[in-house]
Symmetry: C2
Subunit: 341 residues, 2 copies
C-alpha cells in the first residue's frame, strides 16, 4: 500500500496563520491492532477552534506543538478493522486529524448512516457544529417564543443552525454576518427575520437597533470583540448571552489582553448573564440532539450550506479562510473521493 | 407637633459626592390618611446603591433628581396609623427615605418583632443586605461543600453574611477587604478561612492565589473593577460569578466607560458564567430567607457587625464614608432614639 499523508504544524503562527506554518509529510501506512480501525479520510472539518490549538496558550484542550499532526474532526471510510463491530466500507466520524489515513480505537469512531443525510453533514449540521448550536441555544439560553435572538457568524456552521432552531421555537432571529451574500443567505434562504452586515454598516449599533427594535433577549456569540460590545448595549431584562467562540481574538499575540467595556453594571441592571459553552460537556446527550436535528433536516425545517475545497494540502489555506471569513457555510476539505455522491 | 426634617439632593455630584451636594429641609409634620401610617424614623440604612440613584444614569430604579428627598430603607416606630393592622408603638421597616418622619401606605411597611433581633438588623442581616447575600449566593451561585468562595467588600453588610452562609455550607471562604481591622474581623470573628487586604497587597493576584490555592469556584462580586479582573484570572471550571454591586464604578463620570479585560475567552474555556443580581426579584421569597437567617443568627452561626452615626444631618457624610470604605460593618444613621436599647 502507498504511504499516508499528514500535515504537521511547522511553527507557531504569529497573528494570522500562513500556509507556510504547516508542512505536509509522508508516513508509512499505519496498521490497525485489535480494537482499532484503519480509516481513509474523506472530509476534514475546518473549524475556528483550530487557531486556539496552535497558539501555545493554555485552553480547554491540549494544544498542537510544532511537529505534531494537526487535530481535526473528520468523516471517513473504514479500510480495515479488527476486534470491533466496524466493517470495511463503513462510514465513520471521529478525531482523525489532518491526515489521509489514520488508525484509531473503534470506540472513538461514530458510525454514520449514509441514508440519513450526506456523510459530510457529520462534520456540520449533524456533527459538532450542529450539537453546539442545539445545546448552547436550548440548554444555556432557554429561548421562549417571542424572544429576540441575535447570532453572530450567522452563516457559519454553528450560526446557521442556531437561527433556524430559534425560528422553529417562535423567536425573532437576527443574524450578523459579513457581506451581502451571507446576509441574503440567512435572511432569504434560511428564513432569519433580519440580517446585519457588519462589514458595511458604519453604525453597527443603529443597524442592530433597526433589526431588533425591542432589544436583545438572547445573544449567541461566536465572535467576541467589538461586535459583542455593540450587542451588549442592547440587551434586555434577563438577557442570556452564550459564548461559543471568540474568533475576533484568535490571532491575538500570546499574552495580548482582550480589552473592552466591562459589562458588570449592565449585567446587574438587566439581571442578565454571560455563560461560556463547550460542546464536549454534552457528549452524553449527542443522541438526543442528533435525532432532533436529523428530523428537522428531513422535514426541511433546517437547511444547511457546506463549502468544500479539494485536497488535504489545501487544509492550511482553508483554515486561514475560515479565520478571515472567506468560507460561506460549513468548511470541509475533501481529502479523498466520497463514494456516496 | 414640631416640624419634620428631610434631606434632599441639592445638586448632582461630580465624582465622589460631597455633603454640600445635599440640603436639610424642615417641612410640616405629615398626617396619615386612611390606610396610611405616620412613622418616626429610628435607623436610616446607608447603602452603596444610593450613589447610583443620584447619578442621573438610567438604571433599574427611578433616580433621585435635584430637589427630591433622598431614598433609603429605614426602621422606625409607628406614631399614628389609620385603617390597617398597624398600631402606635409598632416597629416597622420600609422605604422611608432620608427623613425624620414619613407617612407611607401601611402595605409598604413590614412589621418587626423586636424580640427576634435588634430592630436595626432589619436594615442589615435581617433586611435587604442579608436577603441579597442569601439569594445571590444560594440561588445564583449554588455553592457545594468544598467550593472555594471569594467575596469582595467582605466586611460590608452583604459580604459578611455571604461568607458565613458559605461556611455553613462547607465551603472554603476567602474575603477581600480593605485594611487590617476588616480583614481580622472576617477571619477571626466571622470564621472566614482567609482574608486578603486589597489596600496593602502589592500583588493582589499572588495574595489571592495563596488564600485560594485551588482556584475560585464562586466569586461574589460587590465591587467590579480591578479586583474583579484579578479574581477572574483564577476562576475554575464551571465557576459562577454573581454581580451584586459595582462600587468601583459608582463615582465614574456620566457616560464614562468602564473598561477592562473582556472575560469571554476565559468564560468559554472554563464554562463559567457571570450573572447580574437584584434583590427585588426575590421579594416574594423574603419570608424564606428571613426565617433561615434569623434561625442562624439565633443559633450564633451568623454574626453581624453594625456601624452607627447619630443624627439625620450626618447621612451625607455617612454615604461618602460607605463609598470610600470608611464604615466597618453595616452602616446606619441613628435618626432618633431606639426605645428597645
Amino acid at each position: 500500500m502507498s504511504d499516508a499523508k499528514q500535515i504537521v504544524l511547522a511553527q507557531r503562527p504569529q497573528g494570522m496563520p500562513q500556509p507556510s506554518d504547516f508542512r505536509v509529510e509522508s508516513v508509512a501506512m499505519p496498521k490497525p491492532e485489535y480494537g482499532q480501525a484503519l480509516v481513509r479520510v474523506i472530509y476534514l472539518s475546518i473549524d475556528p477552534y483550530m487557531r486556539g490549538r496552535i497558539s501555545g496558550a493554555v485552553s480547554y484542550a491540549k494544544g498542537v506543538d510544532p511537529g505534531d499532526v494537526m487535530v481535526g474532526g473528520c468523516v471517513g471510510q473504514v479500510v480495515e478493522a479488527k476486534g470491533s463491530s466496524l466493517k470495511p466500507g463503513d462510514f465513520v466520524e471521529g478525531p482523525m486529524g489532518w491526515r489521509s489515513h489514520v488508525v484509531l480505537p473503534a470506540n472513538l469512531l461514530r458510525k454514520l448512516d449514509p441514508a440519513l443525510a450526506p456523510i459530510s453533514t457529520a462534520n456540520g449540521v449533524l456533527g459538532m457544529p450542529g450539537m453546539t448550536a442545539y445545546f448552547a441555544l436550548l440548554d444555556v439560553c432557554q429561548p421562549r417564543a417571542g424572544d429576540t435572538v441575535v447570532v453572530s457568524a450567522a452563516s457559519g456552521a454553528v450560526g446557521q443552525v442556531v437561527g433556524q432552531i430559534a425560528k422553529i421555537g417562535g423567536c425573532r432571529v437576527v443574524g450578523i454576518a459579513g457581506g451581502v451574500r451571507k446576509c441574503a443567505f440567512v435572511r432569504d434562504e434560511l428564513g432569519f427575520d433580519a440580517a446585519v452586515d457588519y462589514k458595511v454598516e458604519k453604525d453597527l449599533g443603529a443597524a442592530l437597533k433597526a433589526a431588533a427594535p425591542n432589544g436583545v433577549d438572547i445573544y449567541f456569540d461566536n465572535v467576541g470583540g467589538a461586535i459583542h460590545d455593540t450587542v451588549m448595549t442592547q440587551i434586555r431584562l434577563n438577557a442570556r448571552i452564550v459564548v461559543c467562540g471568540t474568533i475576533s481574538t484568535y490571532n491575538n499575540k500570546p499574552g495580548e489582553e482582550d480589552v473592552g467595556p466591562r459589562q458588570l453594571r449592565r449585567l446587574l441592571v438587566n439581571r442578565a448573564r454571560i455563560q461560556g459553552f463547550l460542546v464536549w460537556d454534552y457528549n452524553h446527550r449527542y443522541p438526543e440532539g442528533l435525532a432532533r436535528i436529523a428530523a428537522w433536516v428531513k422535514e426541511g425545517r433546517i437547511k444547511y450550506r457546506e463549502d468544500f475545497v479539494d485536497g488535504l494540502e489545501k487544509a492550511p489555506d482553508a483554515l486561514v479562510g475560515v479565520l478571515e471569513g472567506r468560507n460561506f457555510g460549513k468548511m470541509n476539505v475533501r481529502v479523498s473521493a466520497d463514494p456516496t455522491r
